[in-house]
Symmetry: C2
Subunit: 147 residues, 2 copies
Amino acid sequence: MKTKQDRDEYIIVIGCGRLGSHLARLLSKARKSVVVIDKDEHAFHRLSDEYSGFTIEADAVEIDTLLRAKIDKADVVVTTTNDDNTNLMIAQIAKTIYKVPKVIARLFEPSRQPVYEELGIDTLCPTILSAEALRNTIIGEETGDLE
Amino acid sequence: MKTKQDRDEYIIVIGCGRLGSHLARLLSKARKSVVVIDKDEHAFHRLSDEYSGFTIEADAVEIDTLLRAKIDKADVVVTTTNDDNTNLMIAQIAKTIYKVPKVIARLFEPSRQPVYEELGIDTLCPTILSAEALRNTIIGEETGDLE
């Protein structure tokens, strides 16, 4: 039996905006199996030549789209659209219906984080991450853990 | 003579959106002297009670506003508005005219980064930071430095 390290992890990225496309590229460079879903075909132009994964032009809010992306086989689903509700809805489907082991949702409104936590969905809030990085740059690492 | 560590660092944050307000709060909690500038008075509602710094309701693109904020005394200026051009313009004024030691600009379009570098302006790109954090979460730290 293969260990987790040996297994070819399969990752679905929802949304091919700045964040989704950049993430897809990084994962692709790390030789992961990646599928990016976006309902706007023009969004895929953001993917550079370095991206060697698949793309699906469809609305990821539709179950059919998620099935086409083989969500039942996914190890990780990351929702990166610009809308918290869309991200939460798809993350919830991935977690609750398809039992995807790791689900991460981009989150604009940090105050909603507890809802996600209760559903077993990890969150990434670019605002908090960026503010903390800036604070550490300004204050310096020796006092960066003051919070 | 005081060392850099002893000195009360004076920081100007331009823009009181999600990022600016969160950063201001973190710096304020770390007992730094902070001024936040935004042209929209409603933006200051984002600052929580934990924020003990000053606010200036004015357009930071105007030199008068920057002078009111005592930019000539600032140790750090961070531009966090939603517009790359506004951030670059103010960062450039801070760096070139007022010789602010540390200037950091939020950057939406990573491809423009070299321009900032040439001007001695540090940049923070939330998209890149977030994509890298997601990659490290997904791939794990042992392979997180693959890029």
